[in-house]
């Protein structure tokens, strides 16, 4: 069956400490930062966006696979903060990578599920025989779409993950996959709006509005279909927009905390949007051995969940370029809050000028 051949990670180098945001706004009690694991997050540079980060992660993915761009025959770009409405971003990504023009390429969007949906589409293309090697890109710059002063600003971050999907030379194969979708306006942007709007709540029982309702049935269906014994799981990559979310998921799905918590990166990188769970999966693949079971649980606003069961193969230990996640996480350099506001284009400026200043 189709699976993952290689993966690549790209995070912006700039980081912002939660304490810096808090010093300006003081919009939550200090212990809230600790409870939600809001420690630091990535800040995209003024020259970075989901396209540039996506391309960077895809280049690393192809390098790890030892494949030339000409050997790829499909591209799926998943983002819920696509720099373009209407126009495809996949064309920029495809040409920047030098992929052939005569391949299937497209953008997909489903909130925080966009990135893993790209992976699902890639698996379908390969599984159906429509393509041999497909690049699935998960990339988001959530931080640009959260207004200053909102509590989500502590977490909303940016980053990208790419997977090369094929039926040959896999390091992780898919055993089963299941879905659940039901309409929830938990987080949304109506067309033309820049900032995310919260339909449910950030704390309290409404904060998981959509998450549990969708994830639980998808998970139960996965267990039923694959005959999985949850006790046999070694790794789980779960939604991690805040540090509380993995705890909610592990509790409600009755997963062992030891299977979930080592792969939660919220405190280091924040919420990387639809690249968040893929990043957690890469962290798992960086550390897993052959023949181990990994469950990938994803939630996308709007709302819907995907539950995917993978097992690693004998090829995984010899995959070059591992680890890929922690070197990216650890190369951060701090910027202050005012510079983060500038980089994220949150300061009002003239539309047209001789330059941005005069």
């Amino acid at each position: 069956m189709a699976g993952i051949v290689a993966y690549g990670v790209a995070l912006p180098k700039r980081r912002l400490r939660s304490s810096d945001i808090h010093a300006t706004w003081r919009n939550v009690a200090e212990d809230v930062l600790e409870k939600f694991a809001f420690v630091e997050r990535c800040v995209p540079g003024p020259d970075e966006d989901p396209i540039t980060l996506g391309v960077d992660s895809a280049r690393r993915c192809l390098e790890q696979a030892g494949r030339e761009p000409g050997e790829v025959d499909g591209l799926v770009f998943g983002s819920c903060t696509n720099p373009y409405s209407t126009k495809a971003a996949a064309t920029v990504v495809g040409e920047a990578l030098g992929l052939p023009n005569g391949i299937f390429s497209t953008d997909v969007q489903f909130g925080g599920r966009s990135g893993s949906d790209a992976l699902t589409v890639a698996l379908a293309l390969v599984g159906s025989g429509m393509a041999r090697r497909v690049l699935a890109v998960a990339s988001d710059c959530l931080s640009r779409h959260v207004p200053p002063g909102h509590v989500y600003e502590y977490s909303a971050s940016a980053g990208a993950v790419s997977f090369l999907v094929s039926a040959e030379e896999t390091v992780a194969e898919v055993e089963g996959i299941s879905y659940w979708a039901s309409d929830r306006a938990d987080w949304f942007r109506v067309a033309g709006e820049r900032y995310l709007q919260l339909g449910g709540g950030f704390v309290g029982h409404m904060s998981s509005w959509g998450l549990v309702e969708n994830l639980l049935p998808a998970w139960k269906e996965l267990v039923r279909r694959t005959g999985l014994d949850p006790a046999s799981l070694q790794y789980a990559a779960v939604p991690q927009s805040t540090g509380v979310m993995p705890l909610i998921v592990a509790t409600r799905l009755e997963l062992d905390m030891d299977v979930v918590l080592p792969w939660v990166l919220t405190a280091s990188v924040g919420d990387v949007g639809s690249a968040g769970v893929p990043l957690s999966l890469c962290h798992v693949l960086d550390n897993a051995g052959p023949g181990e079971k990994v469950v990938v649980l994803v939630y996308g606003w709007g709302g819907g969940a995907t539950a995917m069961l993978l097992h690693t193969t004998q090829r995984l230990p010899s995959l070059p370029g591992r680890p890929s996640v922690m070197p990216e996480v650890e190369r951060g350099e701090y910027v202050d809050y005012s510079r983060a506001l500038k980089y994220e284009h949150k300061l009002l400026r003239p539309d047209r000028g001789l330059s941005g200043y005069y």
Partner: protein, 146 residues
Amino acid sequence: MTTELPVPIPRVEIHSTLRSAREREGRYRLVGSRCSSCQALWFPRRFVCPRCHSRELEPYQCSHRGTVVTFWPDTMGFPAIGYEEIEDRVVALVRLDDGVHVITEIADTPAGRLQNGDRVRMVLRRQKREDTGNWCYGYKFEKEAG
């Protein structure tokens, strides 16, 4: 338009969307030219070989890795138009592994932490906006880890 994501569109020294699109292969991934008659490599692409004046040139994919020959911080006093959001902007001459030289911006590393001979790799970054307001993407180089 720009109130959506307030990134100003410069009024002078602009990228035209049409010209930008024609030159995208060079900007996106360093596609230059190789002279079929004297084998010289060129970047950006040429239509006539500056060395032997042959018009037989073919697209050539330049190497994406190279070495910093020299670099200079942007110290003009006023930031380059359309690039004013980046403080400590650094421009460098990079010798690619196939011998081609490119003048490029170094992303994310201030001049104080850069040295001649540093290894760099090409990355795609967003450039200043085009005259129509379209995003414009192109190469920069990033210092390699380790």
